[in-house]
């Protein structure tokens, strides 16, 4: 698995955990988790591939909150 695919998988895993909390809480929580634990280059790479990736719907909504 290359790094881009791995980042997408990791983001989707994070969403799978927070999904139980409902969309309103999950979306900012997913973004906050990635912001707090991924280094800036990982985030940048992820944002670079997010558009065309198979993302969990909650991750898709969280993308705009990640920088």
């Amino acid at each position: 698995m290359d790094t881009d695919d791995k980042l997408v998988m990791m983001a989707n895993q994070i969403a799978a955990f927070f999904a139980a909390q409902g969309e309103a809480r999950a979306v900012p929580a997913i973004a906050e988790h990635i912001q707090k634990f991924w280094d800036p280059v990982m985030r940048s790479k992820f944002l670079g591939v997010a558009q065309d990736a198979e993302l969990h719907p909650l991750v898709r909504k969280a993308v705009s909150l990640i920088h």
Partner: protein, 944 residues
């Protein structure tokens, strides 16, 4: 001599009420239930004894400790006679003297009179007692029947059993039972034929003996004695220190002659181990002097070249120049460091400080990434603190003990002995593990429930237990109402109550019959009982590792099992300083004391102390570093005391990352597997060669003390300081105590910690600060560290690692008693006699289907890779599950494991890998290639 070093003959009474008595004219007040022997000792009179020692219950067999009591007939044994109010005791009278001499005469008439050449000369209680009772002659002579020709058993590599010197006091037998809980020893025969026997009278090495050393420790003569004492002589000085193996953190007396270790004996005062030990800490320290140890720095431009020995200055200058070159060419973030859970707190602290201050980034991580990082995240979220809640002694008040994904008798044997003692006293046990670990059924221990779940389904089982607790009204309503966040609890209770989370609905996925889950949940949640949960890497090393930790925390809060002795959530840490390495700010996103790097006030505190500006962004975690290396953006790595090429998952990926780097620096005792891909080797020091502290699984900070000068020249902390200075950031500490002083200044939970305090108190458990100047044995007593406890929703999500036609079995991994982690230390000791290779445990049904027989070579293949090892056919694993250890680099078990990881922390999913097993002729091509590479990469250029 400290008070605890005096052997008072019988254990301390825990009774609250006291009684007063007179011993030899002295008034003494002792707790009710105290023996006369102990009371006399408290009064300053040591009654002669042989079968009594205060680590064991009184036995009353040697008849040496007789006393006279006013108003009572005869001469009762003082060890088995309890004190009474107003009792008047005499320990030394003419009658007693005569009786004792008579007893000693009988003992000595059947004992070799070789004191001057005996290994225990000067350290023998029989010799001492002969002197104490004034023995001057043996009227019976020495020609009668005796045992002097009995043959010595030398089968155990660490100690001998010489029956000719045995006085049959049963101390060894009782130590094996009461202290260790293995019941391997007995007294065989009757009357004159009575002798100590291991198992069914077989050599010690072939018996059930686990070589914990408790029998050797208990023996009052040279019957059971360390071979090292026989070879070297008796020790001349003692240095108290802390074991460098597992997270129990046993306190040891390093008994020295010159700068040579004669033996390591467990310290009675050690609060983690209370005088007990295991085969590793007690005996497996020979690696420190092993011929494989590298003592001179080495460098090479390419991993295909042989190593070249250089001086320290050249090695440090080369490393610094390479890191500077890499950063200049690829950017500041192209380098990073890994701290070690085997090194001290002080060493860990300076590595992360060097990365943040000298490298100028936050690319620092620790091996806790691959073991207990989910514990940190999970317990911080739910309780507010990234650590276990109890001290070890707490288990002595537990009524129900839950062991999940841990194998304490192998991984944490000294704590396991404490736990087994409590189980023998009647506490109930629930084991949740795919494998039938020893605790499920062993002498005098029987689990009430063994939930043999399918690997990867911890969260489903734990949530199903929560379902039972909520729907059957077993919640501790008062605790939840007063101590936990109400809304979060209400939401959690509603979710887990849904029938889809019931044991019946989830048993298909988990493989655990619903009735067992219900029974276990009811037992754990029993009203008025103390329920304690102990867990290990079988919980954390999953894609839902963090979720499982939170599910455990939910259960503890729901049942009110937090905040007092006997309860709690207790992670059993794998290595000696996992807790400490996490505490010290080893993670890329947080500074010491678990404060996020993005927190401006915290950062400002460190910036002011360190005189540098810190990056506010989180750095790379170990798996991210390797990914970044493969991608070409990460080029330099400083690894202190870790072996990621052997211990981390998906070996091919790890090797790919290491090979892609331009400067890999390994600081270690040996040329480990990671060093095969390194450009600089900096020889490290052992725990015997430096000062510092370790923090064990119960948050206990203990001193590591230097017993000898570092054979490599420097403590590991000094090497890091040299490198940091060469990089332009000097850290002028003169002693590790100064590093701890800085840690205390910068870390609120360590504010009250200093070497001075540790020397005075022996140890402290953090938090240790103004609110708790002597530390905190049990956390969250009045309230959680975060205020109210937080229930978190823990939905079960199946792992992406799926079985299928190609890979129909699930592999899970673990470790064994005699070996430790990647085996770098224990493989270089006689411990390898017990475990010479990793074996694959496979159920007879699965073995038969594949034509696999016990001992035959099998190929173990997964989507990541394949390796070969020999099979061990056993029903210890369930059908569909196979198991192996990862102690031997020749097996390369991690070639097979996947790079799936925990959603929150990237902790690898070691415990679930879909595999196939098939007969094989021997090692795979990968193993043969690896062996060739390994030999080639360890070449050292001949010195000119």
């Amino acid at each position: 001599m400290r008070d605890g070093d005096i052997d008072r003959g019988t254990p301390e009474s825990k009774a609250g009420r006291t009684v007063s008595l007179v011993v030899d004219g002295a008034m003494v007040e002792v707790p009710e239930g105290t023996s006369i022997m102990r009371a006399a000792s408290m009064a300053g009179f040591q009654v002669p004894k042989l079968c009594a020692t205060d680590s064991l219950n009184a036995f009353g067999s040697c008849r040496l400790c007789l006393v006279e009591i006013d108003g009572r007939a005869g001469t009762p044994a003082s060890c088995t006679t309890p004190v009474a109010q107003g009792m008047v005791v005499r320990t030394q009278t003419e009658r007693l003297k005569k009786l004792r001499r008579g007893v000693m005469e009988l003992y000595i008439s059947d004992h070799p009179l070789d004191c001057l050449t005996c290994a225990a000369n000067g350290d023998c209680e029989l010799q001492d007692m002969a002197g104490a009772v004034g023995l001057r002659e043996v009227r019976y002579g020495y020609d009668g029947d005796n045992h002097l020709a009995d043959v010595k058993d030398q089968s155990n590599p660490y100690f001998t059993y010489d029956p000719s010197k045995c006085i049959v006091c049963s101390r060894c037998v009782r130590a094996c039972e009461e202290v260790q809980g293995t019941f391997a020893l007995t007294i065989g025969g009757r009357g004159f034929e009575s002798r100590v026997a291991a198992s069914a009278n077989v050599p010690f090495l072939e018996s059930e003996c686990v070589s914990c050393g408790a029998c050797v420790q208990a023996c009052p003569t040279a019957t059971l004695i360390e071979k090292s004492v026989a070879e070297i002589g008796t020790p001349e000085r003692v240095v108290k220190t802390t074991c460098a193996y597992c997270g129990v953190g046993c306190s040891f007396d390093a008994e020295m002659r010159g700068d040579e270790v004669v033996r390591m004996t467990p310290s009675k005062n050690g609060k983690a181990n209370s005088g007990h030990s295991c085969i590793k800490g007690r005996f497996a320290w020979g690696y420190a002097q092993h011929k494989d140890r590298i003592l001179k720095p080495m460098i090479r431009a390419s991993i295909d070249e042989p190593w070249r020995e250089v001086g320290w200055d050249e090695a440090i200058a080369y490393t610094a120049s390479e890191f500077k070159r890499i950063q200049a060419k690829y950017g500041k973030g192209a380098v990073g460091g890994i701290t070690s859970s085997r090194c001290t707190n002080e060493e860990t602290f300076v590595v992360q400080k060097m990365v943040r201050a000298a490298f100028g980034n936050n690319n620092v991580d620790t091996c806790a990434r691959v073991c207990h990082s989910p514990t940190g995240y999970g317990l911080r979220t739910t309780f507010g603190t990234s650590a276990g809640t109890q001290d070890f002694v707490s288990v002595e008040k537990s009524d129900v003990i839950v062991v999940i994904g841990a194998n304490p008798t192998d991984g944490h044997p000294v704590f396991a002995s404490r736990m087994k003692r409590r189980l023998r006293e009647g506490a109930k046990l629930i084991v949740i593990d795919p494998r039938r670990i020893d605790l499920v059924h062993m002498p005098h221990v029987e689990a009430s429930y063994h939930l043999a779940l399918k690997p990867g389904t911890n969260v489903a089982v734990l949530t199903a237990m929560a379902h039972v607790i909520v729907t059957e009204g077993l919640i501790d309503q008062d605790f939840v109402a007063t101590r936990c966040e109400a809304d979060a609890y209400a939401e959690w209770a509603a979710v887990v109550s849904d029938p889809s989370r019931s044991p019946e609905a989830t048993q298909g996925a988990t493989g655990v019959p619903a009735a067992l889950v219900r029974g276990a949940a009811r037992l754990y949640a029993g009203k008025g009982k103390n329920g304690a949960i102990y867990y290990g890497l079988g919980v954390t090393e999953h894609s839902q590792g963090t979720t499982a930790v939170m599910a455990i925390a939910n259960l503890a809060m729901a049942t009110g099992n937090i905040g007092r002795e006997g309860v709690g959530v207790n992670p059993l840490r794998g290595q000696n300083n996992v807790q400490g390495s996490c505490d010290m700010g080893s993670f890329p996103h947080e500074l010491s004391g678990y404060r996020h790097i993005s927190d401006a006030p915290t950062r400002a505190l460190f910036e002011a102390a360190w005189g540098v500006e810190l990056d506010s962004e989180p750095g790379l975690r170990i798996p991210n570093m390797l990914d970044a290396a493969v991608d070409g953006r990460f080029k330099g790595l400083y690894v202190q005391g870790e072996d990621i090429a052997q211990s981390d998952p998906d070996t091919k990926h790890v090797v790919g990352g290491l090979k892609a780097m331009e400067c890999v620096v390994v600081q270690d005792l040996f040329l480990n597997e990671t060093a095969n891909y390194a450009h600089v080797f900096l020889p490290g020091s052992t725990f015997l060669e430096k000062d510092g502290t370790f923090t064990n699984a119960e948050r206990r900070i203990q001193r590591v003390r230097k017993t000898m000068a570092p054979k490599n020249g420097y403590g590991d902390w000094e090497i890091t300081l040299k490198l940091s200075e060469a990089l332009g950031y000097p850290m002028p500490y003169a002693h590790p105590s100064e590093i701890m002083d800085e840690i205390a200044r910068l870390t609120p939970t360590f504010a009250g910690v200093s070497f001075e305090k540790l020397d005075e108190l022996g140890s402290v458990q953090w938090p240790c600060n103004d609110k708790a100047p002597e530390g905190t044995p049990v956390m969250h007593r009045a309230g959680f560290a975060r205020g109210k406890g937080l229930f978190v929703l823990t939905e079960y999500v199946a792992t992406e690692e799926k079985t299928g036609p190609r890979f129909p079995l699930l592999l899970t991994t673990g470790r064994i008693l005699s070996q430790y982690n990647v085996g770098a230390q224990t493989r270089r000791t006689s411990n390898s006699l017990w475990h010479t290779e990793d074996r694959l445990e496979i159920h007879p049904h699965d073995a038969e289907q594949r034509g696999v027989t016990d001992g035959a070579w099998v190929k173990l293949a997964s989507r990541s890779g394949e390796t070969s090892l020999r099979a061990l056919v056993t029903d210890r694993v369930a059908p569909g599950v196979v198991y192996t250890t990862f102690h031997h680099p020749s097996t390369q078990a991690n070639v097979v494991t996947s790079d799936y990881s925990d959603w929150a922390t990237n902790c690898p999913e070691y415990k679930v890998t879909a595999v196939q097993v098939m007969p094989s002729n021997g090692p795979t091509d990968w193993q043969r290639d690896y062996e060739r590479h390994s030999v080639a990469s360890r070449r050292v250029e001949a010195a000119e």
